[in-house]
């Protein structure tokens, strides 16, 4: 046997509550991260990702509380990201029961933090999240891929896609891997929210270059999209939010579809 491809629901958390389109009709407290985590875990999620968007000085206390709650409620791995800048931030959530931390902007601004985190917690705890936008202007030195839109390279953005860095995502991933990244969460800002499928060219090029697992993110709308991410995109895992939150395609249905298509699924 080989490793199963992972299906990962993503939950956005603000002040300890899940935000952004939750539509679980049967749930009493739809915004409770613990209840949602339990629900997804029971449905067969292989892992969970929490992205914390809280901006306040009590952030650490708030995070610790719900991370502990989630750790008590479920027994599958989960990652916490959002505003994790250093070893102290990471320790806060890892010692509360999270299995991995995801780091995005802070890693671009201070790449050494990747090595510090890997040295203290082990690289399997360190997920580097990369938010990517396609750049259609051919530029020398960038890893360029032929697509239906013509040649593109993949530009790293920070601050939730607001800031363009000029950095090539493939080059960044290779550097981050060397520094200690244990996994990549690659989100297409072009596809995010469109439900038109993952950016397959992006997912594939990162998967082909790095030697650690790659999670495809942004654009899931149909079971077929997960299949594409795992086959053409060569992803190890696929992350989605709205398709699960709105119960459009529940996890068991997506997994069943993938199993029938010959994908190794838990």
């Amino acid at each position: 046997m080989t490793l199963a491809k992972r299906i990962i629901p993503c939950l956005d958390v603000n002040h300890g509550k899940v935000v952004k389109g939750i539509n679980f009709l049967q749930l009493k407290h739809a915004g409770d991260p613990v209840e949602l985590a339990k629900r997804y875990s029971d449905e067969g999620a292989d892992e969970l990702v929490f992205l914390d968007i809280t901006a306040s000085h009590e952030k650490r206390d708030i995070m610790r509380q719900y991370v502990e709650g989630v750790a008590k409620a479920i027994s599958i791995p989960f990652t916490v990201g959002g505003g994790i800048r250093n070893v102290a931030d990471a320790r806060n959530v890892l010692y509360s029961g999270a299995d991995k931390v995801s780091v995005n902007t802070a890693a671009i601004e201070n790449p050494e933090v990747i090595t510090e985190l890997a040295d203290v917690f082990g690289r399997q705890c360190v997920v580097i999240a990369i938010d990517v936008k396609r750049n259609l202007n051919p530029t020398e030195g960038k890893v360029t891929v032929q697509t239906a839109e013509g040649p593109v390279w993949f530009e790293v953005t920070t601050y939730g896609g607001r800031k363009f860095t000029g950095i090539d995502a493939v080059t960044w991933a290779l550097q981050a891997e060397k520094l200690g990244s244990g996994e990549f969460l690659v989100t297409s800002m072009d596809k995010d929210g469109t439900e038109s499928g993952f950016d397959i060219e992006l997912t594939r090029v990162i998967s082909e270059y790095v030697h650690v697992p790659v999670i495809a993110s942004g654009g899931a709308g149909l079971p077929q999209h997960f299949l594409d991410a795992f086959t053409a995109g060569k992803a190890d895992a696929a992350l989605a939010a709205s398709v699960f939150h709105y119960n459009k395609y529940p996890i068991p249905l997506v997994k069943d579809y993938l199993r029938k298509a010959g994908v190794t699924i838990r």
Partner: protein, 201 residues
């Protein structure tokens, strides 16, 4: 209530494991010294950290663990905790507990290392730790090294990732598992409940 003491090497998160073990009905505490372990009904070596620092932390309690296990106290080693059942590891210098003969070696091949994610276990001999666990159940792994016991008869389950390795070993009151039961969903909880039943008798 029977009490299980998780030994803290001081290098990582034990919260999830403690929560999962508490669900089995055991009274769970975290210990760092000989006194903490002396009265334990069961000892758990958790799966956080790498060989050299954890082996070093274990030195101060090695005698008490070896004595208790010799008297029949159940011990559960998870991931690095299992690897510490052996004498040494290719991961780095240091001496383990020496409960099992054999080596701890690095995963080889073209596959991504660490072996991280859900993989299946194949049951190769009957072991009460795996009661009610089905053949080819998925469990959660995170590791780069694996145990290769000299005595094949201690192997309970095998897993294939490039190479086929022992994913669980058991002998007398010693139980070692390479995957993480506290992260393996319902199957993992069942394995921990089986361990609790072994402890309470």
């Amino acid at each position: 209530m029977a009490n299980a003491v998780i030994f803290d090497y001081g290098v990582g998160n034990l919260f999830s494991l403690k929560c999962a073990l508490e669900k089995t009905g055991l009274d769970v505490s975290i210990g760092t010294s000989e006194q903490d372990l002396a009265e334990a009904d069961a000892i758990v070596l958790p799966g956080v950290g790498s060989f050299t620092p954890t082996a070093k932390k274990l030195e101060c309690v090695k005698k008490v663990i070896q004595n208790k296990v010799a008297e029949g106290t159940p011990i559960l080693g998870i991931c690095i905790g299992l690897q510490l059942f052996f004498e040494e590891s290719a991961e780095g210098p240091g001496a383990g507990l020496g409960f099992f003969k054999g080596k701890v070696i690095r995963l080889q091949g073209d596959l991504k290392i660490p072996h991280m994610g859900w993989n299946t276990i194949s049951l190769v001999k009957s072991c009460e730790l795996f009661d009610d666990i089905k053949e080819s159940t998925y469990v959660y792994f995170v590791h780069s090294f694996y145990p290769a016991p000299t005595d094949e008869s201690v192997v309970c389950t095998k897993t294939t990732y490039g190479t086929t390795f022992a994913s669980a070993v058991a002998d007398k009151s010693m139980y070692g598992i390479q995957f993480h039961p506290e992260k393996s969903g319902d199957a993992g909880l069942q394995i921990l409940r089986n361990f609790a039943r072994i402890v309470t008798g």
